[in-house]
Amino acid sequence: MKDPTADPEKKAHTARAQGGRASGREKHMSSHHESMPGSMSACHSLAARLEKEGEVRVADCYQCGKCSAGCPAAEEMDVAPSQVLRLLQTETPKHEDRALRSLAIWMCVGCETCVTRCPQEVDLPRAMDFLRQESLARNLANRDASDVVAFHKAFIKSIEKTGRLFELGMIGDYKIRTGHFFKDLGVAPTMLFKGKLGLLPHGGANKREVAEIFARARAAKKESQA
């Protein structure tokens, strides 16, 4: 009995109680599973995994669109944020595939505006994180996002190597990955000159430790996939 007062189930109003928060949860879970017994979607759908791994409950979304309305990056997206969730709600491979191939998941800036205003408190940014990872894992990342992907990879790589972000190195790596050699040529020298870009990686972090963290994280992921 977590918090009895939070549990509005009442003999007098079963009806409203079902809608009530605390009880709504269990109610939902069960119906969610009954709805598609044994089917792929029930246990392995992205929605189900997101609920298990990310603790984001896709079914909570009732498609009011408030997230899409406030999203600063929506203009860049091929699929609006709320629609990305919709694609997961159907729990069909076809739609999940569309979500994972979407440009939208890469255009999300992670500004958290959506979750801040979401009436159902659905953690959309977390869902986006999850989809990006899944999209990479399944090699479905949208081509037009290759530069964004490259940036994130370069970023992570840099941390893994040095334990801290080595901006110049990272940007270099990024350029090699993308071939945008001349982009930013304007600012980089000035940055250097203004002392905003260090020429050498920063020391100080415990590189070995960080490398190990990465290694173990990878191992853990392999495990969970197997």
Partner: protein, 145 residues
């Protein structure tokens, strides 16, 4: 040799929430283990915790106490009294060496048929795992209760 141990479970429930909830379990045909014997009282507030001691000394291996959710007592506050008394009594029982894992205190509303089934099954399984409550029963046999 002897058949596997089946615990004796005694449940003290209020008439308005949990008893009705258990009725709902029935009308919705949800199955649960048959070890439990229900004693119907008007309200959990009516539960004199001597009853719990008595239940053990009479050979119950486990006890379930359940009534209306807080704020939902048919008698407005009986369940609060029960809860308050339970808080105190729990410590006392602990002090007396009663194994608290054998006592389950919960709320089941008239709308929670499924919850009643779960509650009974969980409690019964726990107690089955704990085995017969010899300690107290022997005392009882020895006439100390």
């Amino acid at each position: 040799m002897a058949d596997p141990f089946e615990p004796k479970m005694t449940a003290f429930v209020c008439n308005w929430c949990t008893y009705a909830g258990a009725d709902l379990t029935g009308t919705s045909r949800i199955k649960y283990q048959s070890n439990v014997r229900v004693i119907r009282l008007p309200c959990t507030g009516r539960i004199d915790f001597m009853l719990v001691m008595k239940a053990f000394s009479r050979g119950s291996d486990g006890v379930i106490i359940s009534g209306c959710h807080p704020n939902d007592c048919h008698y407005t506050s009986g369940n609060y009294h029960a809860r308050r008394r339970w808080m105190v009594f729990r410590d006392l029982m602990d002090f007396m060496g009663i194994d608290l894992r054998r006592v389950t205190f919960s709320w089941v509303s008239a709308a929670e048929g499924a919850k009643w089934a779960e509650l009974v099954n969980e409690a019964t399984n726990t107690v089955r795992a704990l085995g017969p409550y010899k300690e107290v029963q022997q005392l009882a046999v020895a006439g100390i209760d």
